[in-house]
């Protein structure tokens, strides 16, 4: 596994995956600087 988190950037896509895969969403509001 690549040693890097592969982030979704769109809530709609994340929700669709969460429902399909039965997982929780880990949502990070960050400061891109």
């Amino acid at each position: 596994m690549e040693n890097k988190i592969t982030w979704e950037t769109d809530m709609k896509t994340a929700l669709a995956r969460a429902r399909k895969e039965g997982k929780h969403i880990f949502l990070d509001f960050f400061n891109p600087g």
Binding site: I5, T6, E8, E21, H24, F26, L27, D28, N31
Partner: protein
């Protein structure tokens, strides 16, 4: 987070394997308004229907990230009355991360889950006794204080 926590191999493995990671800028509307974001980082566990179940504001170290997520996912299952699923996450947290700052809340939640699942109040008292012994200064020990009276 980018310098220390997220590059950690165990953190990557846990997040990729157990969650759908979603990252958005703190000022991205409408999400920032919906979740009332005031500071960064704000880290939220959402259930598969998108409902907020757990929130952390501020930096989280690599050592605390996995137990915090286990607690958040456990709380989510608890709030949806899926007690055995909740207990799986809580027991993993307590077994693998007993010294984490999430552990005392996990002990409290374990007692409550066991009570809700069986209606046997004994686990509530056991939770208090364990909290008193292992985390005497914890907020969760204070919250469990009434359970000392359970026989």
């Amino acid at each position: 987070m980018d310098a220390v926590t997220y590059p950690n191999a165990e953190v990557v493995k846990f997040i990729q394997g157990n969650t759908i990671p979603l990252r958005v800028p703190f000022d991205a509307k409408p999400l920032s308004l919906k979740f009332n974001i005031k500071w960064t980082p704000t880290l939220i566990v959402l259930d598969p229907d998108g409902k907020e179940r757990h929130r952390i504001v501020g930096f989280v170290s690599a050592e605390e990230m996995i137990p915090s997520l286990l607690l958040g996912i456990g709380k989510s299952y608890f709030e949806r009355d899926q007690f055995s699923e909740a207990l799986m996450r809580i027991e993993r947290l307590l077994k693998e991360y007993p010294k984490s700052s999430s552990a005392s809340e996990a002990i409290y939640l374990k007692g409550v889950c066991q009570y809700k699942g069986t209606h046997n109040p004994k686990p509530l008292r056991e939770a208090y006794e364990r909290l008193k012994a292992e985390y005497p200064e914890s907020e969760w020990t204070k919250r469990a204080y009434p359970y000392r009276l359970i026989n």
